[in-house]
């Protein structure tokens, strides 16, 4: 069986800096995979490469067996890969409710389908997700007026209501109220179990990623350093070195 997402030898340089160097990884259908590494190790660059934000120099990226490394961002999104950003990106001059409405499963509807209102079940699901992330009372607030944490939550809710097959999360818990983190993790696990949502998550919060992911890849200086189940990776000498800076 082919993996849902498979990267083979992906490289990307910016000038003289090799941000991604021969990175290969696999995400199986229905899995939750973590991507860790010190700052500047190329995690977000790899996300950008998968989501089509920039072309890669060499290597191959396959989604359900199909090469997507040459596709544009929009076409990749319409195939079912949705990503969130480290710095949340929202429609800042639109209300929270409108942000959700415009994100509802827009990928699945035809272009002509835009000339109607959002289907009621999708709207209901949007409202329910807003309720969950604690933004129900903020429906009429402009997204740009939300706090950083609230913006991250809204972006996550927008990604979930879009109903992707593969969700790329870039530090979903950074800046989020610690009280909410646990329920956020539960929610992601539930989406994974009930809807078969596959997750690839960049995370700096070790307890979070150790509790969430079944398999973890660790990057350092653009190269893949180690991978395996959380227990193995956290004891890996190379990973500890990379994080603690030992030679």
């Amino acid at each position: 069986m082919t993996a849902m997402l498979e990267l083979v030898g992906v490289s990307k340089s910016f000038g003289g800096i090799r941000a991604n160097d021969q990175v290969s990884l696999k995400v199986e259908q229905g899995a939750i995979v973590g991507l860790i590494g010190p700052n500047g190790s190329g995690k977000t660059t790899l996300f950008n490469a998968i989501a089509g934000a920039h072309p890669i120099d060499s290597g191959s990226i396959r989604f359900k067996g199909e090469e997507i490394s040459t596709l544009l961002a929009g076409d990749i999104a319409r195939k079912g890969i949705i990503r969130t950003f480290q710095q949340p990106r929202l429609y800042r001059e639109m209300s929270v409710a409108a942000n959700m409405l415009v994100s509802t499963a827009i990928r699945r509807s035809s272009f002509a389908g835009l000339f109607g209102r959002a289907p009621p079940d999708a709207a209901a699901r949007g409202a329910e997700l807003l309720e969950f992330v604690g933004l129900a009372a903020k429906q009429d607030t402009l997204a740009g007026d939300l706090s950083f944490g609230q913006q991250k939550l809204l972006e996550l809710a927008m990604a979930l209501v879009n109903d992707p097959e593969l969700l790329l999360l870039d530090e979903p818990t950074a800046g989020i109220n610690p009280v909410l983190i646990d329920s956020l993790i539960d929610r992601l696990k539930a989406a994974n179990k009930e809807r078969g949502l596959t997750l690839l998550v960049i995370e700096h919060n070790m307890p979070v990623i150790m509790g969430l992911a079944e398999h973890i890849y660790c990057l350092a200086h653009g190269k893949l350093l180690a991978d395996g189940p959380p227990q193995t990776v956290r004891r890996d000498a190379k990973v500890l070195d990379a994080y603690l800076g030992a030679a």
């Binding site: 990503r83 990106r89 429609y91 409108a98 827009i106 000339f115 879009n162």
Partner: protein, 346 residues
């Protein structure tokens, strides 16, 4: 924002009242009939500019392209149905041989106006695929160039009168008040435009335009077909601009390629000013802006003759400084602040 654009009962009532005013206005103020017709055409100009410039955030400086195109296409159809266009323009449209009877004149309008909308829409579709892949300043400059180029091209085609322009058909005397007919055509177009846009902005398409305005890359990353949405919005705007241009051409009667049809320095700037004055990105804004603009323009031209352009310049600066979000934007901001203060009160 999407919510603010939808048609609530109170808004419908307001539109109904405006419509009633619109129907009786030329009968009450027959002396201002052509100014009122111009106002209605300006409302369509401002609304159409705002769909792309305000709602979608693509500031076009070349919308006169579609206005001028519509003007010429309609005039060509109106003449061409019955006479040879080349001979007509050579004779400066006058003379005794180029006479249009009532049926011919009306048939000309009946075919000319839809043709204007259609050709303008087609042009927008062809150009949009290229132009709309540019963003920000690049899009603005490129559209500015398109508008200017169109005027120069039209001024170089002898078949449509080249630099000496073209006249729309002379309305026959037995048709009665053609000005009144043009007024009601403009009213119909303005109402259709308002209702069409109100509907568009109430759908997810309207939300998609706002999303493109706020963060196009994000919209694309969420799987929205931004290119199709942008081109569609431009095509719809162009269709209305083309038909409004066709009516405008018949109102002013003489189509000069640079001064009337592709008049970037006047109409091209005015339509943007009207949208900004009223409040861009709102449905009501361009309408309010067009009314205020037409009012001040006529007042300046009457009482400040010689200084009218200076006065208009001062108005532009004043709007930019004191009402950066336009009159409607200013009022709704005020209302929102008051609502918020009310919520926090006891």
């Amino acid at each position: 924002m999407g919510r603010a654009s939808s048609l609530t009962p109170s808004r419908l009532l307001l539109l109904g009242a405006l419509l009633a005013c619109g129907v009786v206005a030329p009968l009450l103020f027959p002396a201002y009939q052509s100014q009122l017709t111009e106002l209605l055409i300006f409302i369509v100009f401002a609304l159409a500019w705002d769909l792309v410039g305000g709602q979608m955030g693509y500031n076009s400086f070349g919308n006169v392209l579609f206005v001028g195109l519509g003007m010429y296409v309609s005039a060509i159809v109106q003449v061409g149905l019955f006479y040879d266009v080349g001979l007509y323009t050579e004779a400066k449209g006058g003379g005794t041989e180029f006479v249009f009877d009532a049926d011919q004149f009306l048939a000309g309008l009946a075919f000319g106006l839809p043709a204007a909308a259609l050709i303008s829409a087609l042009a927008a579709w062809l150009l949009g695929s290229l132009v709309l892949s540019m963003r920000g300043h690049y899009f603005a400059i490129c559209t500015l160039g398109l508008g200017i180029a169109a005027g120069q091209v039209a001024a170089g085609i002898p078949w449509i009168g080249a630099g000496s322009g073209m006249l729309t058909p002379n309305p026959p005397a037995d048709l009665g008040d053609v000005g009144l007919l043009l007024y009601y055509l403009a009213l119909g177009l303005a109402v259709t435009c308002t209702l069409t846009f109100a509907w568009l902005l109430s759908t997810r398409f309207g939300l998609a335009l706002n999303a493109i305005r706020d963060d196009e890359d994000k919209a694309e990353a969420m799987g929205l077909n931004t290119h199709a949405a942008k081109v569609t919005a431009w095509v719809i705007a162009a269709a209305f601009l083309g038909m409004a241009g066709a009516i405008y051409g018949n109102l002013v009667r003489f189509i000069d390629p640079v001064e009337t049809a592709f008049a970037g320095a006047t109409i091209g700037v005015w339509m943007i000013l009207m949208a900004l004055l009223g409040g861009k990105g709102t449905l009501l804004g361009p309408i309010v802006g067009a009314i205020l603009f037409q009012l001040t323009k006529e007042l300046f031209w009457t009482f400040l003759l010689g200084w009218q352009r200076v006065a208009l310049g001062v108005l532009i600066v004043a709007v930019a400084v004191f009402f950066p979000s336009g009159i409607v934007g200013f009022v709704s901001d005020r209302l929102r602040t008051r609502e918020r203060a009310g919520e926090q009160g006891p």
